[in-house]
Symmetry: C2
Subunit: 411 residues, 2 copies
């Protein structure tokens, strides 16, 4: 059986994701699609709209055969570490290919860029360092440095978010000496950063989230942009838990943390660099909402995403020490199975003996420093609910078996 990997957040699963899975299957002739999916917190440093279990269901109903959780230690990181963690999982589960969506759409240029950048790494890093010194954020500095390099003209537009991720997937494959073959599919329709709903039937997850989190907008508004299965899962989640998760729901906890910890306490937390902790402390008491707080702490130096991730690590109390192994060696140490179709199950049977990492189906039966971070993330994620919902949600995290979905019985 040929298995092909994809790296996803599905927050929520929409028509663009459906298209990506369909195209991946078509282009690669995959028998089994393995999706590595972020759990409770996402790369932009935000809580997921709804639980990993609901998003797993969406994924399986949308064409994925296996869903593996991308551990918190990778899911809430900059592209490089995010990509390395994802690739290490797809490699460990035996994918022969992985396929990512990109603005660029041609894999050869990714390969060329990676080779070129490895050759010019030193010059590139010096250029970045100098540009950061001028007060630019790291991503902006990297992008500027890249365009200053000679001979890169014909390659990639590394100012586009999915090209950046793709670049890091390809580089991670090379760095990890994986035999996986990377491929890419051109993203159609809405870009990552569009925040208004476009008229076609493909919209970015960002714009869908925005619509879902605005008070007066109902599920109706986004219906045309998501498969009916997504609409159904969103409806079920809302009726069971009365909300979709946003940073605003967690702001009280963040504020509480920031108003009881000293700068010295905060210094131990991940992403707390260059006195950022003082900036956060000085603006928290006068901020009534997360949005207001973010606007106050935003500077040219830090991207919105970087700051959200820092807040996310405060919220989950993730320390530098806990993240240090990941920074030194950004590879997963286990495969947490969230769900599978009948095909996925069949695939797992064939590779089970050859897996290079342990397959974790039950959270309480396995211990690992990175899994501790996932547990803390799950604990945090459930904290906004009143009792008895909170305890119920917490239990789900520890007791839910991998979701099984029989794709063959669907009409």
């Amino acid at each position: 059986m040929k298995s092909v990997g994809v790296v996803v957040e599905y927050n929520p699963f929409h028509n663009g994701h459906l298209y990506h899975i369909e195209q991946t299957r078509k282009h690669t002739n995959a028998d089994c699609i393995v999706a590595v999916m972020s759990g409770n917190f996402l790369q932009r440093g935000e809580p997921a709209l709804l639980s990993k279990w609901y998003r797993t269901k969406m994924a399986l109903q949308g064409g994925a055969d296996i869903v593996i959780e991308l551990p918190y230690a990778f899911a809430t990181q900059k592209a490089e570490i995010f990509a390395n963690g994802s690739i290490s999982i797809l490699d460990a589960i035996g994918c022969s290919e992985m396929c990512f969506g990109s603005e660029h759409g041609t894999i050869i240029d990714f390969n060329k860029t990676v080779s070129y950048m490895i050759e010019n790494e030193e010059t590139f890093n010096i250029k970045i360092k100098n540009t950061v010194k001028q007060g630019y954020s790291y991503p902006k500095a990297a992008s500027l440095a890249y365009y200053e390099l000679e001979g890169q003209e014909s390659f990639l537009d590394l100012s586009r978010p999915n090209n950046i991720l793709g670049y890091h997937y390809v580089k991670a494959i090379k760095d990890q000496q994986s035999s996986m073959k990377p491929t890419t599919i051109q993203r159609t329709g809405a870009g990552y950063h569009d925040v208004e709903l476009p008229p076609e039937n493909i919209a970015s997850a960002t714009s869908i989230r925005k619509a879902l989190l605005e008070e007066e907008v109902s599920l109706e508004t986004i219906k045309q942009f998501v498969p009916v299965t997504t609409s159904n899962e969103l409806k079920k989640y809302l009726s069971e838990f009365q909300l979709l998760h946003s940073w605003e729901d967690y702001f009280s906890l963040l504020k509480y943390k920031l108003m009881t910890l000293t700068a010295k306490d905060l210094e131990n937390l991940y992403e707390m660099e260059e006195g950022l902790e003082n900036r956060l402390i000085s603006h928290i008491s006068n901020s009534h909402t997360f949005e207001e707080f973010m606007k106050k702490i935003k500077t040219k130096r830090y991207t919105w995403t970087r700051l959200q991730r820092a807040c996310c690590h405060i919220l989950t109390h993730t320390t530098k020490q806990q993240m240090s192994t990941v920074k030194d060696n950004p590879k997963a140490t286990y495969l947490r199975l969230l769900g599978m179709t009948v095909t996925g199950q069949r695939y797992l049977k064939t590779v089970k003996k050859d897996l290079s990492l342990p397959l974790v189906a039950n959270l309480s039966s396995y211990n690992d420093p990175l899994l501790e971070l996932d547990k803390k993330a799950a604990n945090t994620y459930s904290m906004i609910f009143p009792e008895p919902i909170r305890s119920k949600v917490l239990k789900l995290e520890y007791s839910t078996p991998p979701i099984r979905y029989n794709e063959e019985n669907v009409n």
Copy 2:
């Protein structure tokens, strides 16, 4: 002007407190009564029922002339440190006497006991150590050790809570070489630990709190046990903030903290000794209420109060390092003025130049490591309110000037 000190919590101010102030004035011929009052969190490791401002009003209306806040670093401690902090404040503000309520009621026996204990300190400490080793809590061990000492028969019953506090006031006066004269008044009516409302018009603060925090009991039930001024302040607080504070209101925050910090993180917090942190972590996820949690973590070794204080320091994130100065030298470093009558103001004018500690009337104008703990306590105290009340309460802490009360205009 003769000023006499009392050490109080007024949680809330009741008829027993009124009696204590009246008797203090009568017995000592005081012109000015100075009350050192705990702020947001109390010696039993609990949040105060209502804010320090409301409790200050109760105190001034009940006969106190000056109210000074006992800093968090002393207010939430065992008797010895609590007493030392209180005495250092009363001494600094120039009280020539201090008067405490006790079960025993005769000051000579307190003096005798303190002298006797100083002579026998070494034997006493060894006895305590051995008894703690047998699994007894520290207070129980101290009490047992005391009764094992020879020659103490005629002195004090140190199993009674107010005798214990009184003992430590007298000892602190001696240790700090204060010239203050201690006196005591026999407590009448309800003891500290009675939890049912007795038929007379004096009830313990514990039983009054219990009645106030039970859902179906109204202010009517406690009316006979408190001055009308207390009823009025409680009524005003309830109508402004919709609640009286109890541990249950803070349990979500405690649970969040305990479910995101590791044992190693918790180890840095004050009162976290002998692996207590592991015990707390192992019982938190299955506890739905604070009461349930406390019952699960309670052992013979730790008193309920000791455990509540540990939880309180987790809630406020008070570290061992932040408390270290107080443990080494348990004396206040500032006098935070919460309120005064016209008499109190007159007294302050006469002694202002001779005060041995700075008088702090405005929180934002003064910096001190102990004051930082008070700020964190105030931040924590406000966190249970939704916006915009939370921000309003927080502002009150920083902007409320000392309450002035003209006792001469009252009919």
